[in-house]
């Protein structure tokens, strides 16, 4: 494992250095075109300043930015215990001291990515579509792939490189604006220096501004492709079950062909399967072709180690698999056998938990029906009753009742007519009450129409409405 990390570190510094040179040259060129006499100095200083700020910004806020731009929301143990458990298990397998934070993106396209400049501050994000489609083994394979990116320090590399590419693109964009600006002041600046030399320099600067972003992107793509194979190999070794990831990739690529996910182009290479260019090949692709990745994982001949992966990769890729030379040596001669598939008794609980979490975030009221259906009501839907679409049972939408008027008409939600609860002798009296029906997550409507959520761990006696600020007394029938 160590050689891999060292190699990544070396490549990261080379890439950053190289891109810094391109950036500075570009900055000087921009400055020169804007103001031929001293402008290049300002351009250089500006580019250096931009670079330093960007690196600092990425180091301290890159993860948050990327997660926010993809609309990911943080999930806790209470919200989706199974998903958290799967991530925790893989973090342990990888020897990661701390479980990465888990995020869910509400999107039906199955995909996943990892962020984190440091191992102890990493995060894994998965889409709801992924959770809906994969079983536990497959999900484990995908999570292991993402954790592999974290331990191989690919995340650091990709984020740093993505920001570099971004700033080069930004500067060359600025350059063309500068050119426009100069065209404006053309008459005043024209006659300074030798005209031919000046023209030549401007042409060179234009060429640089056109080529730099392309070169930066190609460099970036070439480096990120090999990392996907390595992460696949690491995932296979961590889970000891290459078929899990293989079948997950099959499912992901199948639906990626029909669906497009709207993501920022700069962060696209960080996903397990590139969401923007699912079908791209050749040197513009950030990811190796998914069918090849599946073929390798399916042909590891009962082994789960790096050596088995290397052999399978040679068979599948032929000469283009050369970059994997030496991978097998990292097994240090040990044998890694494939384990048996997990018995997934839960039958889609991971997805159900995640969906419920998303609904809660969207302030849906969720009503369980005896026939097994969960009826969902948006916050703007203020119907007092709702009919189950499957069995036709009429349900009263759970809602808080006025505390003083305990016997309001048609109030069945307060089922069983609980014995009178003594109002707590506090100066701030709750003016509404609600009687719990379930032990798990439960949602009900406040008088003002706002949806309130009770977690399974809720142990208090009152809850405050976030909208109208009124206090609701919670009656717990179990104690």
């Amino acid at each position: 494992m160590w050689q891999l990390i060292k190699e990544n570190r070396r490549r990261t510094s080379i890439l950053i250095g190289l891109m810094a040179v391109v950036l500075m040259t570009l900055g000087a060129a921009v400055g020169y075109v804007v103001e031929p006499l001293h402008g290049w100095k300002w351009g250089l200083a500006g580019a250096a300043g931009l670079w330093v700020t960007q690196v600092l910004a990425v180091w301290f806020g890159g993860d948050a930015l990327m997660l926010a731009s993809s609309g990911a929301v943080s999930v806790g143990k209470e919200d989706a215990p199974q998903l958290i458990n799967i991530v925790e298990e893989m973090a342990i397998a990888a020897g990661l001291g701390q479980r990465p934070q888990v995020f869910i993106i509400e999107n039906d396209v199955p995909n996943a990515f990892a962020v984190g400049m440091r191992r102890d501050r990493a995060a894994v994000a998965v889409t709801s579509g992924l959770l809906r489609r994969l079983n536990r083994d497959e999900l484990q394979g995908v999570v292991a792939h993402e954790i592999a990116h974290i331990i191989n320090e690919d995340v650091r590399f990709l984020t740093a490189a993505a920001v570099m590419v971004g700033s080069i693109v930004l500067i060359s964009d600025l350059f063309f604006r500068g050119l426009l600006l100069r065209g404006h002041h053309h008459k005043r600046l024209d006659m300074r220096g030798a005209p031919q030399l000046q023209l030549l320099l401007v042409v060179a600067a234009v060429a640089l501004a056109v080529l730099a972003p392309i070169a930066a992107r190609l460099l970036y793509f070439a480096c990120s492709r090999g990392r996907e194979y390595l992460a696949d190999a690491t995932s296979a070794r961590l889970t000891r079950y290459p078929d899990g990831l293989a079948s997950a990739l099959e499912k992901i690529s199948r639906s990626a062909a029909d669906m497009r996910m709207e993501v920022n182009r700069a962060v696209a290479p960080m996903y397990i399967v590139n969401p923007v260019q699912a079908a791209a090949h050749g040197w513009g692709a950030t990811h190796p072709p998914t069918p090849k990745r599946i073929e390798i994982l399916r042909n590891m001949a009962g082994g789960a180690g790096f050596r088995s992966y290397e052999k399978a990769a040679w068979r599948a890729l032929g000469k283009s698999g050369q970059f994997l030379v030496g991978l097998g040596a990292m097994d240090e001669g040990a044998q890694f056998d494939v384990r048996a598939p997990l018995v997934d008794e839960s039958g889609g609980t991971v997805a159900a938990e995640a969906m419920a979490f998303i609904d809660r975030r969207a302030s849906f009221i969720s009503i369980p029906c005896a026939c097994g259906v969960r009826i969902k009501l948006t916050e703007s839907d203020l119907r007092p009753t709702v009919v189950c679409p499957k069995c036709g049972t009429n349900h009263i939408v759970p809602h808080a009742t006025d505390f003083q008027l305990a016997d309001s008409s048609g109030d069945i939600a307060k089922s069983g007519d609980e014995p009178v609860v003594e109002p707590p002798a506090e100066p701030l009296l709750p003016n509404q009450e609600y009687c719990r029906r379930e032990a798990g997550w439960e949602s009900f409507r406040c008088r003002c129409g706002h949806t309130l959520q009770l977690s399974p761990a809720f142990a208090g006696s009152t809850i405050d409405c976030g909208k109208c600020r009124s206090t609701v007394l919670i009656n717990n029938p179990t104690n």
Binding site: Q82, N85, I86, E88, M90, I92, A93, A94, G95
Partner: protein, 191 residues
């Protein structure tokens, strides 16, 4: 360069180089040994987590399956045995015993539909299943680390440094074969 200078260079340079290499090897061995120890403590954490979950499980199951005292007692006994075990080998076999006792409880739940529908029980089942997985993965990580460390300390020239500074061979955490393979016994008694 005269002869004195040349010999001086050899006499000073070669030992310095050897010492520097030895320092590197020593540090990498320490790093690997620490990785093994961390791996071991991770297994410990997970085993303790499982021990802590068991009283809760017993409480929940008791209410639904009063007639299964024997199975419940087996679990408690296995848990106590696992808590008291010391040393890698003993602990491994005691934990394997606990695993099979636990699988008996989950098999038993099949014949109690109300227990199977209990949210508390389902949550505990997920936690215990995940803990079982975690123990497995922590063990896998520990064994991988031990293997790397053991190989490294036997290979020349690291074996010289390992011998000088007493880097001892680490033990693998193997589950006792017989207990691991034991098929969970399903109790078909009617009551």
């Amino acid at each position: 360069m005269n002869l004195t200078q040349f010999f001086l260079l050899i006499f000073l340079g070669v030992p310095t180089l050897v010492v520097v290499i030895a320092i590197f090897i020593y540090n990498s061995l320490v790093g690997l040994r620490n990785q093994c120890r961390n791996g071991w403590s991770q297994i410990d954490v997970q085993l303790k987590r499982r021990h802590d979950l068991i009283p809760n499980l017993i409480e929940t199951v008791k209410g639904y399956a009063e007639h299964e005292k024997k199975t419940l007692e087996q679990v408690i006994q296995a848990r106590n045995a696992a808590q008291d075990a010391t040393g890698v080998k003993d602990q491994a076999s005691a934990e394997a015993g606990l695993s099979s006792a636990l699988s008996n409880i989950f098999a038993l739940a099949e014949s109690y539909p109300e227990l199977k529908a209990n949210e508390n029980f389902l949550a505990l089942q997920e936690e215990l299943t995940s803990t079982e997985n975690r123990i497995g993965f922590a063990r896998q990580h520990y064994n991988d680390s031990v293997m790397t460390y053991n190989t490294r300390r036997e290979v020349f020239p690291a074996n010289i440094v390992a011998g000088m500074f007493n880097f001892e061979e680490m033990e693998f955490f193997e589950l006792a074969e017989s207990a691991q393979r034991a098929v969970p016994q399903v109790n078909f008694q009617n009551d």
